[in-house]
Amino acid sequence: MSSGSRAPAEQLRVFADYRGPVREEADVAVVGSGPCGAVAARELATRGLRVVLLEEGPPLSARDIVLDGALSMTRTMREAGLRATRGTVMPTMQAIVLGGGSFVNSAICVRAPDFVLDGWCEVAELSATSRKDLDPHYDAVAALSGVAPTPDEVQGRRNLLFRDGCRALGIPSEPIERNVRGCRGSGECFTGCRSRAKQSADLTWIPDAMRHGARVLTSVQIQELLHERGRVVGVAGRVAEPFTGRLSHPVSVRARAVVLAAGVMATPVLLQRSGNLANRSGQVGENLQFHPGVAATGIYPEPTDPWFGATQGYQSLHFVRDGFKLETLWAPPGVMSVRTPGFGHELKRRLAEIRRSATFDAIASCHRSLGRVRARRRGLDPAITWRLHPDDVDILMRALHVLCRLHFAAGAEKVLPGVHGAPDELFREEEAEIFVRRRFGPGDLVTAGNHVFGTTRMHGDPRRGVVDEHGRCHDVENLFILDTGIFPRSPGVNPMLTGMALARRGAHALADQLGGRSAPEA
């Protein structure tokens, strides 16, 4: 996406640059450099506005990438990657690094289907958020991010087995579209792309924002929004040391407007910490939703070399209307091993089978499973409560049943479903019937939820939502929220691209409001 000229280095500040208090002024302060905040910053900058983008995490150079999954998480994820919900206990990860989730994610880019967005418009009383309304924004963010289908040469065997299984069962499937350029199939998206192929925000949107004049302050933890007489006037926080989080010099940015894009967990906490700002609706921190995932590992007669291939290369959208989406999955061995049952020589034998394995996963919309985010007494880490609804467990079990069938259809010798109360290993397709014949509870599943929404949801009615469909706070006209927290409910598919499209639209609405120069040709 480079426009030819280099991003000016003096517009970036890293931890080593801070020698004392920091004071800045801008038209817009953008908090959070994940895919949504980065898009917002870049779009605002292209409109001639003076933008300061603030990020708590550091930029990671290729040399900072740690290959071990567990140690990598301690550096790139909040709470060392060990954050979990209360109520139904489920791990959930949020990044703390320049580029946010786009640095650690699998680069899956999917547009929310028409029926999902029509559903949003209906439940949240929106008038301009249909697929037709969002398509120009999807087109623009996809083009700049290099979104394209995963080519066969980097699919690797485990992704193609998914395709084979779908074909055998007559289930439509396709190569996943991802924001990558020149992927080499290292399967390491989770720890960061050493090949610099993944077009995460730190490689694309952020340097481009700088080319358009944005200043980027990394290693800055914003702690509150400054407001006077119903308007925000800036943000304040402190310099935060990378990895340790140790706080030092004060930082303040005075601005005509603020964009909060700190993510679903951090944005509501910042509002709560700022005198419960923008919360006349009482909805800040409410309506928390996830895409809980389940996975099944198939063991095949021949080696699959699972370390090779795009981290997640194939998918099926066939069941999205039924509430789940199917994909392939790979993660660092230490993380994958958590799913391998047993111990002793039995465990070792099963680990040795990883080289003949393929793992497929399903993410489910789980509209009935709700939670909330609250600020703790100290610090900015959220207290997260969430409960997996029994009816949503049934959907997850149905999804698991399909995953097991896919494996057997693709030729697996056996399948490891990872469910308490079911056999550790299934050897025949009929054995997987247990997942649709018996009722399981939330505690029986090994699940995780890294797609998060809803804690500052958009709603046409200011009494029922925090922002309007452009991300503008109903209560504070010059405060915009542009992260995936504004989704009124699940997008049914992976959320990043939809978050970016909404951020682009919101940024232009804010630029119009501030009298930014006209939008450049796409």
């Binding site: 290959l67 610099r196 090779f308 958590v338």
Partner: protein, 232 residues
Amino acid sequence: MAPSGVVLLALALALVGAALALRGFAYPRPRPPGPGGGPWRHLGRMEVAFVEAAADTLFPPGGEIPPSGSEAGVAAFLDRYLDAVPAGVRRLMRLLLVLVEHGTLLFPAPGWNGFRRFSALSEAQRVAALDGWRRSRLFPRRLVFTSLRALLAMGYLADPRVLRALDLAPRDIEPVVTEVDLLYPPVGAGREAIPWTEADLDRGGHRPPLGPDTPLHPDYRDPTPAAGGGRA
């Protein structure tokens, strides 16, 4: 929580308290972690003894992957890992170790032969004790097992020998220098530490997908000369 759950929890907490008070007695001084021989940063005697016992129960020596849990340096890994996690999480993790080490008092293993902590049990009893946590009807007990197992497995699968045996060791990927590599210094350093110049910038061109012949990353190669540089 049901009354039995409250009683159980109170007992477990009392147990953990007593164990913490007695920590260190009756445990041998552990070997230093790693070949560098530096001191243990977080794990005490009791925790090292427990982690090694539990790691060897999960990953006994021999079989398809030769190193045992203790040979793979799981305890040293855990010590390093604890160093990198926030203090609150660290406390919880250490509590987890204490809980399973002394949980045998509350949940005795089959063939019970007096009050013995986990690391003092026979191999068969350790297997039975861990299986008790794993198959429990109580979700919190299963959660304890899952968390412990995850920690130990992460440590085991961090060992280059284990990864080589599984053919899962990371490959050597030549650095691709892009615009941002001239912009972002290594974490903690200033811009003067950026090792690249304009001349190093990637000129594009096709880089082939990785494959079975791609050499291993240097940190994961077999250092023994007979291994011939540790190619994949």
